[in-house]
Symmetry: C2
Subunit: 281 residues, 2 copies
């Protein structure tokens, strides 16, 4: 199978490495408008064939995998679906699914498209961040699976299972709401925490010396790529605002307890939050 | 040197193990009102001698190290200073220093007391969580060092260096402000995030399946002990409120950018927060 990776950063690059490792790729191609990105991806073994013209890449490929910022997926996907042949499969790996599914729901080639989201990543980005084992034991969520061609879907599921992934199916709205709480919100709190601390502690040396591993852990996601994350927040605006308001309401409650010197109430608040340890080991 | 550990949890227990490892202890004693705590600490090798009467323990000890919740330190310290002999040294390892230093500043035995804060820990607590290498390469902050007896201080500094710690000196107010931003705030955001997600996702299984490593990392500190943390927030109320307001103001700015669909502004906000990667590797 020849796969064109549109985006060969952490996610696309790692998926290519995983497919190569399991002998699932006859050839990996990459598309980028920047030739230097492609050269680096070839050096790192993520792809072997370079395309700076998207149409050429799509003609060449059996499959097309989109691992680019969600707003760019939105812009590109209808045009790609216009171009594809009957036997081709297009998969997107965007972190929000509602808007993308809505954008293409009436496209005549909708069935050739699979809306997927691999729950895997690190705070690093770009081709250098890719590694073959990123997806092992991780979850691939497939949204609106009923809209995709069954044979194409089965082929994609087989690839996911072969590289060690588990599968789950969700409608796009449920996906976007769950992810707003469990993923997007923790990115927002990390970025806000980082901004608050950097405003105050102009001298990075003080942060470095005083930061126990706790701060490093809490602020880790703030190292994530703004190119990826600004569009995710924007695309999932409604759900993100809902999750953010839930968080702000909890934080306001903490503040109220502190201002009222309510030690018992504070204790209850923390005890409730600590219950997360029953879920996350 | 015989040391009485008042509190043999993660911090006190690990300090005992580290001192034992470096041959700095002739005997480790533990004080607790709960005999079962002491029995467990003996089993784990954290201490070898048990005291359920504080006065007996203090009579026996050369040094006393307090690793208990900060509000309990506040309550106990004046009484301990009333009891001690001229050659004894009392050290506290509380995470806030202003109130404790204030409480004992006019005590006639103030010079026998060292106000210290080891910047080390994990999200786990209790005797089982203790391990000998916790303090290696970590920072011991000593506050108001001018108020402590120079010989006692030198002895304490030597112990810290021997177990692999670096030393830093700070006035109590600067300590409490820095820690409010760099440590206490990240605990608050973790607890609030945990509460918001647990409110929404009653089914822990969904959290478990969807939570990438990012969520686990951001929420990790919410597993910390409420017995330790509720009093820390209360004791450091003024500074914690200042840090919390700085955080809330950043989060409000994020929300404003999202509501206004300001993608460029959002990008700048995230890019600013991402600068933390220059400090925290």
């Amino acid at each position: 199978m020849k796969v064109l990776f549109v985006g060969t950063g952490l996610i696309g690059g790692s998926f290519s490495l995983a497919m190569q490792k399991h002998g699932l790729l006859s050839e990996a191609g990459g598309f980028s408008r920047k030739e230097s990105n492609l050269d680096r991806s070839v050096e790192l073994g993520l792809i072997s064939k370079k395309f700076t013209n998207l149409e050429d890449g799509i003609k060449w490929a059996d499959w097309v995998i989109l691992s680019i910022p969600v707003d760019v997926i939105d812009q590109m996907l209808p045009g790609i679906l216009d171009m594809i042949r009957e036997e081709q499969v297009i998969v997107d790996f965007g972190s929000t699914k509602g808007k993308i599914c809505e954008t293409v729901k009436s496209h005549e080639a909708r069935a050739r498209f699979i809306a997927a989201h691999p729950i895997a990543g690190t705070e690093y980005s770009g081709p250098e961040a890719a590694f073959a084992s990123l997806f092992e034991e991780k979850l691939m969520i497939i949204c609106e699976d009923g809209q995709s061609n069954p044979a194409a879907l089965m082929q994609f599921e087989k690839v996911c299972k072969t590289i060690g992934m588990k599968l789950e199916y969700m409608d796009a709205e449920a996906h976007d709401r769950h992810l707003a709480y469990i993923s997007h919100l923790s990115h927002i709190t990390s970025y806000s925490l980082s901004n608050a601390v950097l405003d105050k502690e102009k001298d990075g040396q003080v942060i470095l010396e005083l930061a126990g591993s706790g701060f490093a852990s809490t602020v880790r996601l703030a190292k994530s790529s703004p190119e990826m994350w600004a569009p995710i927040f924007m695309e999932n605006k409604k759900m993100v605002l809902e999750a953010l308001d839930a968080f702000l309401s909890n934080t306001a409650e903490f503040k109220r307890l502190l201002e009222a010197d309510d030690l018992d109430g504070m204790f209850q608040f923390l005890e409730k939050g600590r219950a997360i340890k029953r879920v996350i080991k």
